[in-house]
């Protein structure tokens, strides 16, 4: 799709999906052997939902925010629930908390499997897409689909359904599963743990482009767990704050080319959230088996190459499967599915580790429980500046590559982030212009 080389301006444009024009695009401008401009343009659904939430009751937030993303509804539900419980002074522990971790494992499993093995892996094996890949590797694709189905099943059993689950609420669940219901997952989990271990090894053997960057990684940190549903926010450059202090340290700003807000740490600049951040900051809290698999794959304890995020996602799949089995093994059905939560006027903050990184929510409600204000910082908009800066550095080192090759490698660089370009319009256009 590139225009003839002799013309002064060369343009490469990829329309991934022309369903709704103009929502997500990557624009790269090259001139005189230099990278002049890199823009990631995204239209971000949370902005619409923030307006939609105002005037609703605080108990409606989990159901409404679950609609923001079909892939990671639990992240939005959990962060909104955390914020409301923070606001109303309630803390949920015991088996209800364990069920929250369990359903979140389901989300990590299905989201990571989809990205790592259906969307990312074809890049490394040299296929245009998973459909082509399935021709040569049908068993691998079938295994991935079966594992994704298991993630969906966990969400179904705990959440009532896999897409936009309906069972989570402020204070707990509308209904809690019986022990027998959860035990139906056990054999499949045992199968999947073995397969996930193989897949960590398999992804470790892939060939990776050499692209190490000096990132500030931000993830949640829990004193006793590889943080998923709660914790403090930390970074490898000294950030160590409570979820409530997010606005004091992190600035979200409008940029002209995107409707999404760009996030930056006020003191330093852009940062990187997601599997790589969690892995680098919390490696020691992974299970021994997941740590061993990571080491065997050649990852070590730290990874600064986003192309290797496919291995890290595989490690997290393994970890989430093990954790799910552990929670189910110890599960005792709680007597009450939820704790009553009374509204209290004020502002509450909640955060959790969505598959793509921290998803931070802030709500202000009045004494009746009516939402007066909502602010949601999803992971992709937090990574947006880092993706742009990665792309600029990436292209700078490869400026001599033929356009088609450069375009293909840029697409891969974007895919490293598993970007949620727009949660429901499936849209990304890539545009490279050379003067």
């Amino acid at each position: 799709m590139s225009s003839p080389k002799k013309s002064k301006t060369r343009t490469i444009k990829v329309d991934y999906l022309a369903r709704v024009e103009g929502e997500g695009a990557m624009f790269i401008k090259l001139a005189g052997g230099e990278v002049k401009e890199v823009r990631l343009e995204i239209f971000e659904p949370p902005r619409f939902f923030e307006a939609f939430l105002r005037g609703r009751n605080f108990t409606e937030a989990p159901d409404i925010t679950a609609r923001i993303c079909g892939i990671c509804p639990i992240a939005y539900q959990m962060s909104s629930i955390n914020a409301m419980e923070d606001l109303c002074g309630v803390s949920i522990g015991g088996q209800l908390r364990e069920l929250r971790r369990l359903i979140y494992c389901g989300e990590w499993i299905q989201s990571h499997v989809l990205h790592a093995f259906m969307l990312h892996l074809p890049d490394f094996l040299g296929y245009q897409d998973a459909i082509q890949m399935a021709g040569d590797h049908p068993d691998l694709v079938k295994k991935a689909l079966r594992m994704k189905k298991l993630g969906n099943e966990i969400m179904n059993i705990v959440g009532g359904r896999a897409v936009h689950p309906i069972n989570m609420r402020v204070g707990g669940f509308y209904r809690v599963p019986t022990r027998d219901e959860l035990l139906t997952l056990n054999d499949e989990l045992s199968w999947a743990i073995g397969v996930a271990e193989e897949l960590v090894h398999f992804t470790g053997e892939l060939k990776f482009l050499d692209f190490e960057q000096d990132y500030e990684f931000v993830a949640m940190r829990h004193p006793d767990e590889y943080a998923i549903i709660d914790g403090r926010l930390i970074s490898n450059r000294g950030l160590d704050i409570s979820v409530r202090e997010f606005d004091e340290h992190i600035q979200e700003e409008h940029v002209r080319h995107s409707t999404a807000l760009h996030a930056r740490i006020k003191a330093r600049g852009n940062y990187f959230v997601g599997p790589l951040a969690r892995f680098n900051l919390n490696f020691e809290q992974l299970s021994p088996r997941a740590q061993a698999a990571a080491k065997r794959s050649g990852l070590g304890k730290r990874c600064n190459n986003p192309f290797k995020s496919i291995i890290v996602r595989s490690v997290e799949i393994l970890y989430a499967l093990e954790l799910a089995q552990e929670i189910i093994g110890k599960y005792k059905m709680p007597e009450r599915p939820y704790v009553e939560v009374k509204p209290k006027a004020g502002t509450g903050y909640g955060c959790s580790e969505a598959p793509r990184g921290i998803c931070h929510h802030r709500y202000t409600i009045d004494e009746e429980g009516t939402i007066m204000d909502a602010r949601i910082a999803p992971p992709t908009s937090q990574n947006q500046k880092t993706i742009e800066s990665d792309l600029a550095n990436f292209v700078r080192a490869r400026i001599e590559l033929p356009h088609d090759e450069l375009q293909w490698q840029c697409e891969q660089a974007i895919r490293n982030y598993d970007p949620c370009i727009s949660c429901s319009t499936h849209f990304l256009r890539l545009h490279i212009e050379q003067e």
Binding site: R19, A130, S424
Partner: protein, 163 residues
């Protein structure tokens, strides 16, 4: 043979919710012959949803430049959907066309896959369908019923002939 009717879309993107609304208000006296589902997830999960079904009818919104409310009927049982209607794989998600082709490759595609595409006018954020889209749903209801009746009649004929 029972038909699985699946309405797809996102109800918070105006006309993208046409397929969902269609299934929600779908009325039939042929309940023995058709099951219906709403589907708002990643299209790759369709492969799981239609497991065991011999015939699937998908109702989805399209954005092809046709007049809003135009209904296009496509048969994906034997060949791929046109990309300009239902798109290609994105960085983040599978499209419906991808899910169908992946299922075909893995021999997980039902025998018959019929898609009714309803051309939308407005895919911005918000609830509710455009007038032209809402209006065409009743007509499409009849078209689907006629097709089901025809399929059921020919299935009966076939089973009589083989008896």
């Amino acid at each position: 043979m029972k038909t699985l009717l699946i309405g797809l879309g996102n109800r918070f993107r105006h006309d993208d919710g046409a397929g969902l609304q269609f299934v929600r208000q779908f009325s039939t006296n042929m309940t023995d012959f058709v099951d219906s589902r709403l589907f708002e997830g990643d299209p790759i999960d369709l492969i799981e949803l239609w497991q065991g079904a011999d015939r699937v009818m998908l109702i989805d919104a399209t954005s092809s430049g046709a007049e809003p409310g135009t209904v296009q009927r496509l048969d994906a049982s034997e060949k791929a959907l046109p990309e300009e209607l239902f798109g290609r794989q994105s960085t983040h998600l599978f499209s419906i066309a991808d899910a169908i082709e992946l299922a075909r490759r893995l021999e997980k595609l039902p025998q018959e896959v019929i898609i009714f595409g309803i051309e939308g006018a407005n895919f911005s954020f918000g609830e509710g369908l455009s007038g032209e889209v809402q209006e065409v749903l009743a007509k499409l209801n009849q078209q689907v019923l006629d097709e089901l009746a025809q399929l059921t009649a020919s299935a009966k004929k076939e089973s009589k002939a083989s008896a």
